[in-house]
């Protein structure tokens, strides 16, 4: 029926007639309306329709208002009353809201980290459909095959690089990307534009896009940067655009982009990115791309299988980080539980103080359910305030999230919609968890007693007392468990920092040499050339010792041993290496100039693994594909890391003449020459030798400490919050308990009890709670410590220092919290008390 009034009426009725009967009722009306129209004409039918509709709507509204609305009114009244009560005595409610906000804030921030690292897809258009596959070199053929497969909306490619900006003297983490990448990801530049399709062709235009991050840090947010020419890697490039800081691609650290032409003649790893068409199952994409990779990609002969297809940005951050994150989420859950039980304790006290009011309501006919609903409404206000404050706190905490985590994800770590949703759920859970017991205990009134007006009924009810004590025990136990966990993490971190690495890496500068194959094209020339470099460097005035090597510690390249599942790090070095790094030769000798690849020096650990009972010198071993004779045993190099699989045994072979990549290791006396000086001095040996300083060993070692450090830091914050909260809980519960027992204490004093006896009385109460909490917490701590075992370094779950520290902290915190209540008990003056009666 194409009739505007009819449609309006229908819409009106759908809103007022109960859904079950709406269709038939509207059908009846439609039938009658059609008849009336033919009999009376359009206009009078409209009047009729309006009247009938109004009649229906009015009747159903009247029907409704005799049923449900009363409950709605009651709820509104509950809320209004709750707001009034809360505003009248805001102190406890505010404290509860603050405690909740601490829990919600911590948990929300932690959720933000977990969400951005593990749960959320990459922050780009169609993020959950973006995939990437890494290859050993650019593979244009694979890209074409992807495009022809019909699986993808867009196919692009990129490779990671570092750009040397000669103007600012900085090296930026950059990437070469095909011009379409920005369109595929649906990102727009902050200023300027993106690459044009032609930019990728060599020679057409040398352009660069930079990130807002370096635009601000290195160029002072210069508005004229777009269009300026920079000298990058020795070539002039025009800045065409500035990307927002949140755009981090393809690596979290990338801050500059240059156009990329995937060419099959280039070497070096490159990645292909694709956006899968909607609705294409992931399994199909995986299967088809695996076939394409097999057919079209030029994989190395010894590479079996195909490179894995990843979700873009959703790259697995590694089992270790995943575990660490879930662990921290577990920690935050414990903190949340501590805070909730503290709030619970406060709410019991708050409701108990109002038991007369509740009893009065009960006497006037309010049911227990009604009273509990009243209490729940008040708790809901507290939780809503706590949630709002918690979200604000989380937003404030996010910048403090250890940078380590941000470097593992393309997602920003922020408080987004999902985090706010998580916070709200937590808030609701908190009302339920923290509010249920208080509401149950607090609304159990004794109307007769309360109305008699007994304001100084000695103590709280047995149930309320037991409830608040149990909550306190739980808090102390949880705090104790957290403290044990974080103490062990802190000890592990300290062990990692102070671990003996088996070498002296401080004061050593490492230079990455390039262009050697151009300078010395034949093996003989290479041999002479490297000797010349070494001799030249040794003659520099600042240099104390020189060594050449193809790997530098801490190495992460492992080679498998034949007939064994042992994997070992391979170092190809010359004789000076051991002296330079201070690695002792324990047996045999170091390399001599005429040693070949068949000679090897093994580390102490590998020697022990292979020949536990025999003299390793003179033994033979097949490593990689080469049989080698052991000529010496060197002191073990240790990589202090919680990822114990990275700390492998090692062996050394002579450098040889085939090296195209080489590191020059220099130990300086006093100040070291800088990169420019080294470069110009090496140019004197041969003009095509390039040189770049690589991060010092100290920095490399520190990188391995970042995860344990981040975990220990976050864990420490959790433990501190938990201990402070538990101490606060102890303080408030004891203060209340002493306040309620004032009469008892007064009578005791009147009967001749000494202050020391009173002190003992309260102390016994405190000790009972703390000892029970401590005992339960020790058991919990043991479980936590076992769960953390894989994050421990040189410390075991029963480490006496950690345990003593934890028990000491708990004891001190408990005494500090109980101090004032104890003094209060002693200061009771019986005369004042009697006057109050």
């Amino acid at each position: 029926m194409r009739d505007p009034l009819w449609r309006l009426c229908e819409w009106r009725l759908r809103g007022s007639v109960p859904a079950a009967n709406a269709v038939s009722t509207i059908g009846d009306l439609a039938e009658d309306y059609a008849r009336v129209r033919t009999v009376r004409g359009k206009v009078r039918a409209w009047c009729w329709l309006a009247r009938e509709t109004a009649s229906l709507a009015r009747a159903y509204r009247a029907e409704r208002s005799s049923g449900t609305p009363r409950r709605r009114l009651a709820l509104a009244a509950d809320l209004r009353y709750a707001v009034r009560r809360t505003a009248a005595a805001p102190a406890t409610a505010l404290l509860c809201a603050l405690l909740l906000s601490a829990g919600i804030g911590l948990a929300t921030a932690m959720f933000g980290v977990v969400d951005s690292l593990l749960l959320r897809p990459a922050p780009f258009a169609g993020g959950d459909r973006l995939v990437e596959q890494g290859f050993f070199r650019p593979e244009p053929a694979v890209m074409d095959a992807w495009r022809d497969s019909g699986l993808f909306e867009a196919v692009e490619a990129g490779r990671v690089a570092s750009f040397d900006d000669e103007e600012t003297g900085r090296v930026w983490a950059g990437a070469f990307v095909t011009p379409g990448v920005f369109d595929m990801l649906g990102v727009r530049p902050l200023y300027g534009g993106v690459f044009l399709p032609d930019d990728a062709r060599t020679g057409s235009r040398d352009v660069v896009i930079v990130s807002e991050t370096i635009w601000r840090s290195a160029f002072g947010a210069d508005p004229a940067l777009v269009g300026r020419r920079l000298t990058i890697d020795g070539a002039v490039a025009t800045v065409v655009g500035i990307m927002p800081a949140a755009f981090r691609f393809p690596e979290p650290a990338t801050v500059a982009w240059k156009p990329f032409v995937p060419s099959p003649v280039e070497s070096g790893p490159a990645t292909i990115f694709g956006r899968v068409k909607p609705g294409v199952p992931r399994a199909e994409v995986e299967a088809r791309t695996a076939v394409i990779a097999k057919q079209a990609a030029r994989l190395p002969a010894r590479y079996r299988g195909t490179p894995p297809l990843h979700a873009l940005g959703g790259r697995d951050p590694g089992a270790f980080i995943r575990r660490a994150l879930w662990l921290l989420l577990g920690g935050v859950a414990l903190v949340f539980a501590v805070l909730c039980s503290n709030v619970s304790g406060l709410l019991i006290a708050r409701l108990f103080a109002r038991r007369r009011e509740f009893a009065l309501c009960a006497a006037l006919g309010a049911s227990r359910a009604r009273l509990m609903r009243q209490a729940a409404a008040e708790h809901a206000i507290i939780a809503a305030t706590g949630t709002a404050l918690g979200v604000a706190l989380a937003a404030g905490l996010v910048p403090a999230v250890p940078e380590y985590f941000l470097g593992r994800t393309l997602n920003p770590i922020d408080v987004d919609r999902r985090a706010v949703a998580a916070a709200s759920i937590l808030g609701a859970a908190a009302v339920f968890v923290a509010g249920l017991l208080p509401a149950w205990l607090g609304t159990r009134g004794d109307p007769a007693g309360a109305i008699r007006g007994s304001t100084h009924v000695g103590t709280e009810s047995r149930a309320a007392r037991a409830g608040s004590r149990a909550l306190l025990v739980a808090q102390i136990a949880l705090a104790c468990s957290l403290l044990v966990g974080s103490a062990l993490l802190a000890r592990s971190f300290s062990n990692l920092v102070h671990a003996d690495r088996g070498l002296r890496a401080d004061g050593i500068v490492r230079v990455d040499l390039s262009g050697l194959d151009r300078a010395f094209p034949t093996p003989d020339a290479m041999g002479l050339g490297t000797d010349a470099i070494e001799a030249a460097a040794a003659a520099w005035p600042e240099i104390g010792a020189v060594a050449l090597s193809r790997e530098i510690p801490p190495n992460v390249r492992a080679v498998g041993l034949a007939d064994s599942d042992v994997r070992a790090d391979q170092y190809r070095v010359n004789a000076g290496f051991f002296a330079l790094y201070g690695i002792p030769i324990l047996r045999g000798r170091t390399f001599a100039p005429n040693d070949t690849e068949q000679e090897a020096i093994v580390g102490d650990r590998l020697a022990g693994l292979l020949w536990p009972d025999a003299d390793p010198v003179g033994q033979r071993v097949v490593i990689g594909n080469t049989a080698r004779r052991v000529i010496g045993v060197a002191g073990e190099i240790i990589l202090p890391t919680v990822a114990s699989e990275l700390d492998r045994p090692e062996y050394y072979t002579p450098l040889g003449n085939a090296s195209r990549t080489l590191f020059l290791n220099l130990r300086c006396r006093g100040a070291c020459p800088d990169e420019r000086a080294i470069r110009s001095r090496l140019a004197a040996v041969h003009p095509s030798i390039g040189a770049r300083l690589v991060p010092s060993a100290e920095i490399e070692y520190l990188n391995h400490l970042r995860l344990p450090r981040a975990v220990a830091e976050v864990g420490g914050v959790f433990a501190i919050v938990a201990v402070l909260t538990a101490a606060g809980g102890l303080f408030s519960v004891m203060t209340l308990a002493v306040g309620r027992r004032r009469r008892e204490f007064g009578v005791r004093v009147a009967l001749g009890a000494s202050p020391a006896q009173l002190r003992r009385l309260v102390l016994r109460d405190v000790l009972g709670i703390v000892m029970t909490g401590g005992a339960v917490g020790a058991a919990g701590g043991w479980v936590v410590a076992r769960g953390l075992a894989s994050f421990h370094y040189g410390v075991s779950a029963d480490d006496p220092v950690s345990w003593l520290g934890v028990l000491g902290t708990i004891a001190i915190a408990a005494l500090a919290a109980a101090w004032r209540p104890i003094l209060q008990a002693v200061r009771v003056d019986p005369v004042t008390l009697l006057r109050e009666e």
Partner: protein, 114 residues
Amino acid sequence: VAPAPASLGELETLLLLAVLHLAEGRHEAYGSAIRGEIRARTGREIPRGSLYVTLDRLEQKGLLASREGGTSAARGNRPKRVFKVTPAGVRAVRTAVAAVTRMRAGLRGVLGEA
């Protein structure tokens, strides 16, 4: 022993009687038809809202039962809701009518009836 039938209001009695009449004549007893039946027999136009609310209430009391009936183009292909008086409904009507009949006894003269 059957439970005491609910006492009926006037409108309720009229509706139940109308549904019974329609059933006797083998017509579908849905909203518009019931209203038409009452209009035809008494000349009274029951307000639409009261009609449906009362039908709902009678169904809730178990005096009426409804099922989905036929449809037509004029209704925009919306199915009818066809009512039927339950045995409890029949008892309730009988009681209500009997009460009126007994109260009327001996008042013929006053009421001006033949």
